[in-house]
């Protein structure tokens, strides 16, 4: 059922309804105790990282190996044919012959969508420019579900670069399947894009846009922080103006609920001060392990016979 619906792969968070998300959350949980290390034996995953990444790529590769599969691929800097000017469409039409699934990260929006149009094997979007990053958003939902015990009824703050942050875009779309209150916290230069706002309005999801986060700390169940990414800015001065606009410190935790959790897709720069790390409310390192569970579940669902 999942395999049929997601035959072209996972390109956008918009493909998911509530049932699909809950199904993947359940399957991810099953992965923790799974002893089946041969599920994807003989299968090959290709990881095409046109933009550098360590975490996401290693997470996918580890998930594939743990399920008994193999991995081929490259990351930016290693790719000779692309430097010679080959189109993405041609790369995909070549690589699809070598593998059962392609994970792609690219600096341009819509790259994964394009890949899915030229590929017979499923495409997984591991980040396309400042567009989307649906598997990160899925693992974030898994994290919240496991740590908070539920998704409905939560007050969720999403803070930082909401304009260029691709995870934020996928996350907002996924949350629209649940009954949550969203607080978008950002400097006015980096507010959430119109396309996400329109999507949320159309789905009648309650959200507020604010600049300051401190007054929200006592009501939030989750604060999701993101990095302000220098590479997305055309204007360096703009970046300098906003780069240190939010720094979450240990004293910020004082006003938060006992059950509050602080999340971050990592890597972080200065936005969470290291003295927060030791709090049990800081769960950003745990997010990584949920990531592995989610990616195992995704690969198993898309690829197992």
């Amino acid at each position: 059922m999942f395999k049929e619906k997601f035959g072209e792969g996972i390109i956008s968070a918009k493909q998911f309804n509530r049932e699909d998300i809950e199904y993947l959350l359940k399957k991810s949980r099953e992965m923790v105790n799974s002893t089946n290390t041969n599920l994807l034996k003989g299968k090959i995953l290709a990881t095409l990282f046109f933009e550098p990444s360590t975490r996401t790529r290693l997470s996918f590769e580890s998930a594939m190996y743990r399920l008994g599969g193999n991995v081929i691929g490259f990351q930016s800097g290693e790719v000779s044919s692309i430097k010679k000017g080959e189109s993405l469409a041609d790369t995909i039409r070549t690589v699809e012959n070598y593998c059962d699934c392609i994970v792609i990260r690219h600096s341009m929006e819509g790259a994964a969508k394009l890949a899915s149009r030229f590929s017979e094997v499923p495409i997984i979007n591991a980040g396309s420019g400042s567009g989307e990053h649906p598997t990160q958003a899925l693992l974030d939902l898994l994290t919240i579900k496991e740590e908070c015990g539920k998704l409905d009824g939560l007050n969720i703050g999403i803070m930082g670069d909401l304009k260029y942050g691709r995870t934020v875009h996928s996350l907002a779309v996924l949350f629209s399947n649940f009954n949550v209150n969203l607080y978008f916290i950002s400097p006015k230069e980096l507010t959430i894009r119109n396309q996400e706002k329109e999507f949320l309005i159309q789905r009648q999801i309650k959200f507020k846009e604010v600049i300051q986060y401190r007054s929200l700390l006592d009501l939030l169940d989750v604060l999701y922080m993101t990095r302000i990414q220098r590479e997305r800015f055309v204007d360096v001065e703009e970046y300098e103006k906003v780069k240190n606009v939010y720094i979450f410190k240990q004293e910020d935790l004082v006003n938060t609920k006992n059950t509050f959790i602080l999340m971050h897709p990592l890597p972080r720069i200065t936005e969470i001060s290291p003295d927060v790390d030791s709090s049990k409310k800081a769960i950003y390192f745990k997010q990584t392990s949920y990531g592995l569970m989610m990616r195992k579940a995704i690969l198993a669902e898309l690829l197992a016979d």
Partner: protein, 172 residues
């Protein structure tokens, strides 16, 4: 015969584009390339009409529109009607219709959209631009690749000579 019909000359053979949103006639002529035609054209701007407060109307001798031009008109003036004329008679009359998906017609202006990727070889990816129509009135379209949403006055047409034509510059 209503007043506005009297004011604009009848044509023997060709096309009448009627019920154009007031002020859009010149834009339509330019963006569809009809303006470059050597044939006789009569244009009515701000014509009083019963249906809509004011409208524009274009009559062109000996010219019949192609599918692309009809789609362009549907985007600029969703209420427009197209009549084909032979021997001073209307032989066919149709309302323009905005397609659900607009292909090859509009440029995505997001420079980091994959449809705008410039390959080191100088070429582009072998894909056409594609937009989903979210709402017709007011018009809102969304790029299938990068998801960016455009309103009518933000749309840029791809034109034959590869020179892009912006709607905004045309409408004052």
């Amino acid at each position: 015969m209503s007043e506005d019909k009297l004011k604009i000359e009848k044509i023997r053979k060709g096309t009448v584009i009627d019920h154009i949103n007031a002020g859009y006639a010149l834009t339509i002529l330019d963006l569809t390339g009809i303006a470059e035609s050597p044939n006789l054209m009569t244009i009515g701007i701000n014509v009083l009409s019963k249906k809509i407060p004011k409208k524009d109307i274009i009559k062109i001798e000996n010219v019949f529109l192609n599918e692309i031009q009809m789609q362009q008109i549907s985007i600029l003036s969703p209420n427009a009607t197209i009549s084909l004329i032979e021997d001073y008679k209307v032989i066919e009359k149709k309302k323009v219709k905005i397609p659900e998906i607009i292909k090859k017609l509009i440029v995505c202006q997001n420079i980091t959209c994959i449809t705008n990727a410039e390959l080191p070889s100088g070429g582009k990816e072998p894909i056409d631009t594609e937009f989903t129509v979210l709402t017709e009135k007011p018009l809102k379209i969304q790029c299938v690749y990068c998801d960016r949403i455009y309103k009518l006055d933000e749309i840029t047409f791809i034109s034959k000579g590869r020179k892009e034509k912006k709607i905004k510059q045309q409408i004052l």
